[in-house]
Symmetry: C2
Subunit: 239 residues, 2 copies
């Protein structure tokens, strides 16, 4: 079973080192919106929190940066990444391609135990939604999508989706003002039924629709808070 959402397949024996723990803690904190996009992540402060040296902190931050969950600017340190609207669209487009495109294989490979696991995740999802625990709900929703794709049996695609889903979580943090856990209570259940029936075609249209809905629930109106675009402002002025 996947621990949290964390990277799908570690290299043999990658556990046991301190940076793994730091990485995992930071990863979870970001995914769960405990650390919000734009927040600074100074190495010294983290050093004190985790009681390890900067060497270890830096390794974890660099990994998160490669996964685009944090942004590192030279000599200016790390911050929690803040996806732009363009990035958000790319990420959902990529998810469409991957998640819809692999469903044939998923339907072909799926076993009863897989369905049971998916149902269990969906159940926990309902639980979190009813408890209004957005953090947990978002995390579990992501787990569902990742677990589903893992059935296709392609570790590389699964790994890629883990990153896309992680970043989706950041996107929700930035643009999900109107994010509601309602209206999606039984959403994943419908898919499970289709999978159980072996109806790949309908599962694909369902998934495509689902991702579209998630995306359009976001408020991606032209960004306001970002730095004012003087070039545009002045080009729009007459005289």
């Amino acid at each position: 079973m996947l621990r949290g959402l964390s990277a799908a397949h570690h290299q043999r024996g990658e556990e046991g080192t301190k940076d793994e723990l730091v990485y995992a803690r930071l990863f979870t904190a970001i995914i769960e919106h405990r650390l919000q996009p734009g927040m600074k992540l100074p190495e010294d402060a983290l050093t004190e929190s985790f009681e390890v040296s900067r060497t270890v902190i830096r390794k974890a931050l660099q990994r998160l940066a490669l996964e685009r969950l944090v942004t590192i600017l030279p000599k200016r340190g790390a911050t929690v990444a803040k996806p732009t609207i363009a990035e958000a669209k790319n990420i959902f487009a990529a998810r469409q391609l991957i998640e819809v495109g692999t469903l044939d294989q998923v339907v072909q490979n799926i076993r009863p135990s897989d369905i049971a696991e998916l149902r269990e995740i969906a159940r926990q999802e309902h639980e979190a939604q009813h408890a209004r625990d957005h953090r947990q709900a978002i995390k579990l929703s992501g787990q569902f999508h990742v677990r589903l794709l893992s059935i296709a049996g392609n570790d590389d695609l699964t790994d890629f989706l883990v990153r896309l889903v992680s970043r989706s979580s950041l996107i929700i943090a930035v643009y999900g003002s109107s994010w509601s856990a309602d209206g999606k209570c039984d959403s994943h259940d419908a898919l499970i039924a289709l999978l159980e029936a072996g109806d790949a075609a309908q599962a694909k249209t369902w998934m495509s629709q689902h991702l579209k809905e998630v995306e359009s629930a976001l408020d991606m109106s032209p960004e306001e808070d970002s730095e004012p675009d003087f070039k545009k402002i002045f080009s729009e002025m007459e005289s």
Copy 2:
């Protein structure tokens, strides 16, 4: 223009640090088969080659490890990654999904200048093939695929493909015993013609076929050199 095959989009201002140079040199050496799969990459030895401290070397190696071009085993150091047959199949399956699935968008976005650039890469590819320069030919072939996908305008997918293509290069190093630059001299040209004609459907079938051909040109017979599978050996014995 993409510098070599190197990662498609760097974070703003990621240049200028030493580890970038080390990373780029190692990346290129691996892609070009100057460092072959399985080769050890001891930190001290690299320290002397690059005349930087282990800190810098380690950062570069860790990045390459996350991109799966090198394998790091705890306390045992880094080696150039040696993709298994299963990995190879996953990588080509992922490439099919991504490269075929984005061609509609590519055809929709493509501009004359893009076509010109693709033609230029194809030309250099021919040149390298005629000169029997396999290293350069493989590298340019990868560049072609990446440049093509970049037209779709999805940086995340492009980035993912960069990694898949890099690893494809490793796969060729391991399983491409019968690799011949012949018979593919005009292969990419045919695609360019289809793109220019705006024929997305045919471009897709072409691409699918092309990737299949590349894959089946590999010799992925059951691996021999790997560690002896005692379980299998003894279960096959009678008495």
